[in-house]
């Protein structure tokens, strides 16, 4: 356990300085909330209707674009060798990396998302669900994004590949979370959407480390 805790500390510090901590997340949402009225027109009820969904989608896009390079640095500067020769299996290393990424970037975004939704006029009762979706979904995005990043290691056209690989894996959680949000807005039961999201996240967290580790081993070879 001890080495993994050390690794988590290091990865957190790196992700924090790479992503800049919670401030960019907040700034990102602040910018979105400022702009949206301009883009959609300022009628409050129209804004309020799309606000939660926007907050949710913006989270997915932000994850998509910032997770891309999770492994590349470590691959290019030889750190991946060091990690592969450590006391923990590479699966655990990959999981820790994604977890750190989520803690450093996903978690602040999850806190910012409901604030942005409310600032845009979404009804306050929606906020907890936005938070829950962002919290759970962010974890899935982190792990799935890490998988894309690991698979694209050592290839030309990294960005292209990651987008193509990750998009199909991002679609289901976005659909589940969006479903829960629209159901809630329509006054319908929304737990099944959230449950599906949680299930997808659990599957992603459980399975993608295996694929990530295999991809890293393949890249290091």
């Amino acid at each position: 356990m001890r080495p993994l805790v050390t690794l988590l500390g290091r990865e957190l510090a790196l992700a924090w300085s790479r992503g800049g901590g919670p401030l960019p997340a907040l700034a990102f949402y602040a910018g979105m909330a400022t702009l949206l009225p301009f883009a959609v027109g300022p009628e409050p009820e129209r804004l309020a209707a799309v606000a939660p969904g926007f907050a949710w989608l913006a989270l997915a896009l932000a994850s998509l674009l910032s997770l891309e390079r999770l492994f590349e640095r470590d691959f290019e500067d030889g750190t991946l060798d060091l990690l592969a020769l450590g006391p923990a299996p590479l699966e655990a290393v990959c999981a820790i990396k994604c977890l750190a990424q989520w803690l450093a970037a996903g978690l602040p975004l999850a806190f910012a998302a409901p604030l942005a939704a409310i600032a845009l006029g979404a009804p306050v009762p929606v906020a907890p669900l936005v938070f829950l979706c962002a919290l759970i979904g962010g974890l899935a995005f982190a792990f799935v994004g890490g998988l894309g990043a690991a698979l694209a290691l050592g290839s030309r056209r990294g960005g292209l590949l990651i987008a193509i690989i990750v998009l199909p894996l991002f679609a289901p959680p976005v659909i589940f979370g969006g479903g829960a949000l629209t159901q809630l807005a329509a006054g319908l039961p929304w737990t099944s959407g959230l449950a599906l999201l949680a299930g997808w996240t659990a599957a992603a967290v459980a399975l993608s480390p295996l694929a990530m580790a295999a991809a890293c081993r393949n890249a290091v070879d």
Binding site: R2, P3, T6, L7, R10, A13, L14, S17, R73, E76, D77, G78, T79, L80, D81, L82, L83, A84, L85, G86, P87, V220, D221
Partner: protein, 199 residues
Amino acid sequence: MISRIVIEDLALRRGERLLFEHLAFTVSPGETVALTGRNGAGKTSLLRAVAGLLRPVAGRVTFEGVEPEAAAGALHLLGHLDGLKGGRTAWEELRFAALWSGGTEDGARAAAATLELDRLLALEVRKLSAGQRRRLALARLLAAPRPLWLLDEPLAPLDSVWRVRMGELMVAHTAGGGMILAAVHDPLPLPSRGVEVGA
């Protein structure tokens, strides 16, 4: 403890090219083996294969006396790429490497003292000179004791004084039962057995 490392009938391929075949030698505790060979002969690839990062197309590498899964925990690999992040301080990097490889923080501090890095520990790695950076990488070997050192041109960026010091530290490691497998272009400043790769 590892009682011996046996390399038998090894063949490595990179891309489409076969680097070498039928390579065989052993490393016993207390021994230093210097790998020599032309540029591109496959010295670095061989070190990575011994570390288990590269899968040979034929033959095998056996660590006698330890389980195959534990082999990675018995060695340090110091390659051309030293796995140091320019933006972190020397101490952060050394401390992490020590704890990650099973050493302690005190071990890291002692290693830094041995390699006279104390004054530099607060600097970001990207600000170190080439020789200082290499010393930091070498400090990781001392920070967590592991029997086998796999070194890729370890002494090249060091000045003459540090080459001698490092030679002494390598002698001390082998005297304590350690093993060293080093790829070199210049002779090592300690008694060693030569193995030529891809001749």
